[in-house]
């Protein structure tokens, strides 16, 4: 029997490769595939209440019928959960303790300074101010990330900051997580012991097999790969495997070796890999023509890499691609991730603050990278200003005005909007406008291609690939018999 119902807000898309069906995504991030004819009848309010499509769409909050009272509490709660990062303010606080580094990577986004350039270390005064700002932020859960350069070259300052934060937190009682982004080239047993004692995680970079890594990441004195691997093994031994993560930056040369890159990570006992494309920030922009590539080339690389990873997982070993897991969490759960680039409103300012070695405060890590080549658009102020002043600065207001994807041309009608972000910093760097021009945006092209690829898999709910992908969201491995176990 045909019944009365109203449509709930949703957007739709046609996924290349799934010609017969249309993907519907509602405001809450729930999705459903419909045949074209059924989709037409749904939009024409002509579905009958005993049809499977009607029942599915009602259970996924694509329509309101006589039982609308059941719609609202769930929908409000789910939308609230999806946007819950708004209620906490910036949770990621990046301390750039030094710009010093022994590497001279061609795609590095920041200035490279020699190891003895103390002028590029964060002063105690700046660090103290930054810690004040950290505790002015309202979030109960804080993540403090030490960046560089190579932060371990300024280990004394880093240690001083960690101890200061922990001292302050004895009364603040926040949940604070520490991460050091490091090449691990010069990590010492003393430093590892400090990390263990203070539960500090390490994030490092391996670009693939030895030859590729050393070409991508040339180092004064050479041997970058060997030193990083030695550092990873030492860190695994002291901190455990879960305390060390790694990402790989994909250069033009990397595109030919997705399987070899992943196998290198597997050999080093990593259970995750982050396949990060080149960024158009800072000095990386200057080398982009030499080591860069088109979005389609990256997508082909990504698809090959994902296929290889799925094979590894189906063979019984848990290993995830971190960015894919983030996208899947956005698609399959209502909970936001800590990934600030994929937020709307934007994660710059609202999700992260960066305290630079020189006392400047930026809206995001990419914002300070732009500053290294003279673009201070994302400089909110200085660390001695209050949190309120920084958040109300003209730079912050400009970022926020351009950072709501729901209001951006091209994004507002996009079915992937609930899973994606505005990323005004990227678009400013790439296109010279924070709002961006979506049809020609590499960010948009990449995101669209990745979402389409994932939805082509998710369309068939019962295949092995979907079992692997969902296991990444649950962080559970699947074994050869198909059952799941803790990763």
């Amino acid at each position: 029997m045909q019944c009365q119902y109203h449509l709930a807000p949703f957007r739709f898309a046609r996924i290349p490769g799934i010609e017969s069906k249309i993907l519907l995504v509602n405001e809450l991030g729930e999705f459903h595939f419909l045949e074209e004819a059924t989709f037409r009848r749904f939009c024409d309010l002509a579905l009958e209440n005993h049809e499977d499509a009607f029942l599915d769409l009602r259970s996924k909050h694509f329509l309101l019928d006589d039982h609308a009272e059941a719609f609202w509490p769930f929908a409000v709660s789910q939308y609230r959960a999806r946007k819950s990062f708004l209620s906490t303010g910036p949770a990621l606080h990046i301390f750039v303790v030094t710009l010093r580094c022994e590497h001279s990577c061609p795609y590095c986004q920041v200035s490279r300074q020699t190891s003895d350039a103390d002028a590029f270390d964060m002063s105690c005064t700046t660090a103290r101010h930054a810690v004040d700002r950290l505790f002015e932020a309202p979030s109960r859960d804080l993540k403090v990330e030490f960046q560089g350069g190579e932060p371990l070259l300024a280990f004394d300052r880093l240690r001083w900051i960690v101890e200061l934060i922990q001292q302050r937190n004895s009364t603040e009682l926040r949940n604070i997580e520490f991460v050091i982004a490091t090449t691990l080239n010069s990590i010492t047993p003393e430093q590892l012991e400090f990390c263990r004692a203070h539960k500090i995680n390490l994030s490092t970079s391996i670009d693939g097999p030895r030859a590729l890594h050393n070409r991508n990441r040339p180092r004064v004195g050479r041997g970058g790969y060997e030193r990083t691997v030695a550092g990873i093994e030492a860190a695994h031994a002291v901190l455990g495997n879960d305390a060390v993560s790694a990402l790989t930056t994909i250069t033009r040369e990397s595109l030919s070796y997705p399987e070899a890159i992943i196998d290198t990570y597997a050999a080093l006992n990593f259970s995750s890999i982050f396949l990060r494309p080149l960024s158009p920030y800072g000095f990386a922009r200057l080398t982009g023509a030499r080591i860069g590539y088109r979005v389609e080339e990256f997508i082909r690389f990504y698809q090959r890499a994902l296929t290889h990873l799925i094979k590894i997982n189906l063979a019984g070993r848990y290993m995830e691609e971190t960015y894919t897991t983030i996208l899947l969490q956005h698609i399959l759960t209502p909970f936001p991730t800590g990934y600030v680039d994929l937020r709307s409103p934007t994660g710059a300012v609202l999700g992260a603050l960066v305290y630079n070695y020189d006392g400047a405060v930026y809206a995001s890590d990419e914002g300070r990278m732009l500053a290294e080549v003279g673009d201070f658009t994302f400089r909110l102020g200085t660390a001695d200003q209050s949190y309120r002043e920084l958040m109300n600065s003209p730079a912050a207001q400009a970022v926020l005005a351009a950072g709501v994807a729901e209001s951006l041309p091209g994004c507002c009608d996009c079915a992937f909007l609930p899973y994606c972000g505005a990323d005004p910093v990227f678009h400013h760097a790439e296109q010279g406008t924070m709002r961006g021009h979506r049809p020609s945006s590499p960010f948009c092209q990449k995101q669209t291609a990745l979402f389409q690829h994932l939805f082509r898999h998710l369309h068939d709910e019962n295949n092995d690939t979907v079992r692997v992908l969902t296991s990444w969201v649950a962080r559970r491995s699947i074994n050869k018999t198909g059952s799941v176990s803790a990763a």
Partner: protein, 167 residues
Amino acid sequence: MNAWDYRVFNGPAFHDAGPPYRMSKPARGTFRRSTAPRPKAKKAYSRIDNDTDATSGFACQLHKEQGAGMPKHQVRVDLRVFPLVVIQKTAAGFSDRYTVTISQVSGEEIAVDFTVRAGSAPLPDLPIAFHDRLLDLTLQEQITAQTKDIRLALVRAALAEALPQTK
């Protein structure tokens, strides 16, 4: 206007000169509950696509000009059928490959001119792609308008207490 020219429906003329244009799939995204006035289709329409819903109202005309420089395409859209904002959104979606110019031909007709950008590959099926996207965005616009109150109520209820509290 040379080379080839067609009018899908309701047009004053239908020229067979040049390669035939045939819809590869039925016009999609018809939203019958639209309040927009829909002109009735004439026989020329069914010649293009026998399966197409006669009320879908695709009023598009395309000219392909062969001359010096980059090839140019023109699509004409009937404002009685498609809202201007949807025509603009659709045209904007092609602005990565084409320089797009929108102009008013008459009170009821909008011309969208496409010139391939230097270094960009033209779409082999621009009229089909434009037509499909136009219909989809028209439908999306109608869904968005129809569900606007629910969306606003949802956002208002969900975020009413979500403002950060600073110390």
